[in-house]
């Protein structure tokens, strides 16, 4: 399992990343994350939605109620321009950290 702190830190960039592929709703986000992480990341309802609402309040995403094919009301979330910029910023940070980890672990693994 991924630690609480890391989950908390990664939620925002992960959500923004998923939304980069187009609008979607809460349940699909949780499902997608479960598949993508191979079951390592299981977000709870109580955690995801407040984050979504917070992101919306911060202006990174917008939401709209829509009726789906099955006559079901769902709230769809979409990235805004600000959200795209925020994602780029997050991306560069995470990539920087990732590069450091890659370098460190590659060399240490090579070392006898």
């Amino acid at each position: 399992m991924i630690s609480k702190a890391l989950v908390a830190a990664s939620t925002k960039p992960l959500i923004l990343s998923i939304l980069r592929d187009g609008e979607t709703y809460g349940y699909r986000i949780i499902k997608q994350m479960k598949i993508l992480s191979g079951g390592h990341l299981e977000w709870s309802f109580g955690m995801l939605y407040p984050v979504l609402h917070r992101l919306e309040k911060d202006g990174y995403i917008t939401s709209a109620w829509k009726i789906s094919d099955k006559e079901r009301r769902r709230k769809y979330y979409r990235l805004t321009a600000a959200g795209r910029r925020e994602l780029e910023r997050e991306k560069s940070q995470w990539l920087a950290v990732s590069r450091v980890f890659s370098g460190l672990w590659q060399s240490s693994e090579v070392r006898p």
Binding site: Y27, P50, K75
Partner: protein
């Protein structure tokens, strides 16, 4: 979707999800938008599980169990949203916490223990108020229960007459003798009928002999109509025999002790012997408070011929009660009988009406609410007293609010909701009101005997009766609710930060409210005092009014036949005593003569002019003995035998007849024919609620019906004269009791109701004042406590204790004065309306108001005084060190 619906036979997924969402909503942990989103989420997840082959019910359970409780979701939501903020979680707390309830009770009891003085004042005030309300409740219930116990109570009616007299219409139940049986013959709707006429007689049974005033002559069906419980004998046949008499249980004990009275003989006024055929119990809740019942069929035994009575359609001296068959419409029967008298009394326009039995006790025959008004008035007073007591409680609670404010603030800070505080405060007031009710019941139990004496009613507190318990519960609820209203709604509304400061200033909202409540209390109290004084002043006005005759020292005695037959001998012997100034005999006591009323006729009477005087049969010494004032003509004279036929009339009769000079006019009345020889000034001849009735005196009928002997004694010590009377009497009536009364006392007895009213008003005024003063004492000690520092500072700066005392007393005195300003006009209007019920009435003087106001003021200052004095005389060093 079809699959989803195909789960367990009883499981509806949509319904289950909807219900679950509503449950979430109720817990209040989540916002509405969030719940809608959650709903969509749950549906999606369930769909997925169902698509993978799971049963919809299992899928629903699994999803919702994963979400867990609303609190859990809310908590996560909150943690995510409010990172870094220190705040209480937003969800509402549960509705009911047993521990908190226990805590509230503990706090209440602790508070009561710690503030014994205040608690005692609140509970005592409330208890006295509740006791007053309970007493009035018991009394009203008693008044409303009169004659409801008869099996056929709903089918019993009294016939009353709309009786036009010149311009006015009087409605009364006095009817002609033949009416009752005639109605029964004519209308099959009537199941039974009984006439009714009260009488006085001298009763002798063996050695016991007394003058009795509780005689009722009725028809044999009387006990079929009214279901008075018979202890002996058979109600339906008890009066079938003309020789039969039914007596009340108390009379059975009086005359026969423990012996069986049935079959025993009673001698009535020496005229007839009747044999007891039954013993009846007359409950207190009945207007038929009579002791002896016999039938009109017995009249011939008294040498009274029934034939002329049965032909007399113009006399109006009997009541008629009807028992209707089940299902008969009284309204329709009333229409039928309305004109029944017209063909029998040519030229008159009387209309008959029916009056339900249940209305007789509290209503006048004309339908106006007589006693009912008093019941309503007293119920109102009871409510007022309860209100005053509740106001006390409210006042004391808000006065102590400064202490409570901290508690309110603390509870709110720790997450207590307003609802909880409201419940807590109401809980406290209900606890107080239950305690007060317990104390009140003890007070009621103790004061019932005294209350019974004041009201003249035997009222018991039978706690096993459902309606009483319901009433008491009602009072507890009203008291608890009203007294808790203000603290619960007002005190609970403060924001915690404000609550600790809200009452730091004495000019706060609570102080103004407290003042108005005090004004309200004293307004009601002062009104009650004014009412008491007003009623008393009217009673004393009536007692002391110049009656137009002497009433003191006049002794009256109800004669039995033997005395009456030898009245001239007795008279001569009585007059032999120097202290007996004059002796006369007459048919009624002159203070209440309205029972013989008939039509007066004379030559030259206009057809439209009807005069219906009350008739008094007298002997020639009547006018002189009573000291009536002759304004015209002359008195009867024993030396003129022709006077036996002649009349003396009073001024009202002359005015109604419209004759300038009535002397010598020939009058016809009830078969008598004679001249008017004199006119006397009006004398008070009936209850002063009515104007003086027209009256005629006749010396006719050969003395047959002059039942009363009146003796005028020399003022001073009557003992010797009375002893002489006794001696003479015993000689004339061996074996009979010598019973007599003073006219003055008989007159006083006519105003028992008014005196009772005055007594009841007095007790409730006293209660109201007592409670209001208890409240003031509480407020004063609160003020004294609050002002300890101010008093200290003022005294250090040179103010005297007296100055302090007057300063604070003045504060309360102002409130009482304001109350007076409201109470005076209100009481004046009410008093005037009450007095309008009297033809002879006192004027309401200013002194009553001043006295009542002064009394209220004095009591208020006295109750405030002690607390204030203690505060004012305290050592300033100590009071400044306080805090």
């Amino acid at each position: 979707m079809n699959k989803a619906k195909a789960g367990g036979p009883d499981f509806d997924l949509d319904l289950a999800i909807g219900e679950w969402c509503r449950g979430m909503k109720r817990r209040g942990a989540l916002e509405d938008g969030m719940i809608a989103e959650l709903e969509a989420h749950v549906k999606d997840e369930v769909d997925d599980f169902v698509a993978s082959g799971m049963d919809p019910e299992d899928a629903f359970r699994r999803v919702t169990e994963a979400v867990e409780s609303a609190e859990r979701v809310g908590r996560e939501d909150f943690k995510t949203r409010a990172r870094g903020l220190i705040m209480a979680p937003p969800q509402r707390t549960g509705i009911f916490f047993p521990a908190l309830l226990l805590n509230s009770v503990k706090v209440t009891l602790r508070k009561m223990r710690r503030q014994k003085w205040y608690s005692l004042l609140s509970v005592a005030g409330l208890a006295v108020g509740i006791a007053g309300a309970v007493l009035i409740f018991l009394w009203s219930r008693h008044e409303l229960s009169y004659d409801r116990f008869h099996e056929n109570a709903g089918n019993i009616y009294r016939v009353v007459m709309e009786d036009p007299l010149n311009d006015s219409l009087s409605v009364h139940p006095w009817l002609p003798f033949p009416l009752g049986p005639a109605l029964k013959n004519e209308f099959p709707e009537i199941a039974a009928v009984s006439r009714w006429r009260p009488d006085d007689m001298v009763v002798r049974a063996g050695a016991e002999s007394h003058t009795e005033t509780g005689f009722l002559t009725v028809d044999p069906d009387f006990f079929r109509i009214f279901s008075f419980p018979f202890l002996r004998g058979n109600p339906s046949e008890a009066l079938a025999d003309p020789h039969a008499i039914v007596i009340r249980d108390s009379m059975a004990r009086k005359y026969f002790g423990d012996d069986d009275p049935v079959g025993k003989t009673l001698n009535l006024s020496g005229r007839a012997d009747l044999s007891v055929s039954g013993v009846v119990h007359i409950p207190d809740e009945s207007d038929f408070q009579f002791d002896f019942f016999f039938s009109f069929q017995s009249y011939p035994l008294f040498n009274v011929d029934l034939a002329p009575l049965e032909a007399n359609w113009s006399g109006k001296n009997y009541h008629v009660f009807l028992l209707l068959h089940d299902g008969v419409s009284a309204a329709r029967l009333e229409e039928k009988i309305a004109g029944f008298l017209k063909p029998r009394t040519p030229g008159r326009t009387e209309v008959l009406r029916l009056e339900p039995l249940s209305r007789i006790h509290l209503h006048n025959p004309d339908g106006s609410a007589a006693g009912m008004r008093v019941v309503r008035l007293f119920s109102l007073i009871g409510l007022f007293i309860l209100l005053i007591a509740c106001v006390n409680f409210m006042n004391l609670t808000t006065a102590r609010f400064e202490g409570r404010a901290k508690e309110v603030a603390m509870r709110k800070t720790l997450g207590g909701t307003r609802g909880q505080l409201i419940r807590q405060f109401f809980g406290e007031s209900f606890l107080h009101s239950v305690l007060a009710m317990a104390a009140a019941l003890a007070v009621v139990e103790l004061s019932l005997p005294a209350f019974g004496r004041i009201t003249g009613r035997r009222i018991g507190l039978d706690l096993m009766r459902a309606d009483l318990l319901l009433g008491l519960l009602g009072i507890v609820l009203v008291a608890g609710f009203v007294s808790g209203l203000y603290p619960a709604l007002f005190l609970s509304s403060f924001a915690p930060a404000r609550a600790t400061k809200a009452f730091a200033s004495p000019k706060g909202r609570g102080s103004r409210l407290r003042k108005s409540l005090v004004v309200f209390q004293f307004t009601l109290s002062t009104m009650l005092i004014i009412g008491t004084l007003g009623v008393r002043s009217q009673v004393s006005f009536m007692m002391n009014k110049d009656l137009g005759m002497d009433r003191e020292p006049i002794v009256y005695h109800l004669m039995q036949k033997r005395t009456r037959d030898s009245v001239d001998v007795v008279r001569a012997e009585l007059l032999g005593h120097p202290d007996i100034l004059s002796v006369t005999s007459c048919s009624h006591l002159p203070i209440d003569i309205h029972s013989w009323i008939g039509y007066l006729d004379w030559d030259g009477r206009e057809a439209v002019k009807e005069v219906r005087p009350a008739c008094l049969s007298v002997d020639p010494d009547f006018v002189e003995t009573l000291g009536l004032t002759l304004v015209e003509g002359r008195d009867y004279s024993r030396s003129r035998p022709a006077d036996e036929k002649n009349f003396i009339i009073n001024e009202t009769a002359r005015r109604q007849m419209g004759l300038e000079n009535p002397i010598g006019v020939e009058l016809r009345f009830w078969g008598l024919k004679g001249q008017v020889i004199g006119v006397v000034a009006d004398f008070t001849n009936q209850h002063m609620s009515s104007a003086t009735a027209p009256a005629i005196l006749t010396a006719g009928w050969g003395g047959q019906n002059r039942n009363y002997l009146l003796l005028k004694l020399r003022p001073g010590n009557p003992a010797k004269a009375l002893r002489h009377f006794q001696n003479v009497w015993e000689k004339a009536n061996p074996g009979f009791p010598c019973e007599y009364g003073f006219l003055d006392e008989a007159f006083g007895r006519m105003y028992t109701n008014e005196r009772r009213l005055s007594g009841i008003l007095f007790s409730f005024a006293a209660l109201a004042v007592l409670i209001s003063c208890l409240g003031l004492i509480g407020l004063a000690s609160f003020t004294a406590e609050e002002k300890t520092k101010e008093i200290g500072v003022r005294k250090v700066l040179g103010a005297s204790s007296w100055k302090m005392l007057s300063l604070f007393s003045l504060k309360f005195a102002k409130l009482v004065l304001a109350a007076n300003a409201v109470a005076w006009p209100a009481a004046y209007v009410l008093m005037r309306r009450w007095l309008e019920g009297f033809a002879f009435r006192t004027t309401i003087g200013l002194e009553i108001f001043v006295l009542a106001g002064g009394l209220a003021l004095l009591l208020a200052v006295l109750s405030v005084g002690y607390q204030t004095w203690r505060a004012a005389t305290a050592n300033p060093v100590r009071s400044l060190r306080y805090e």
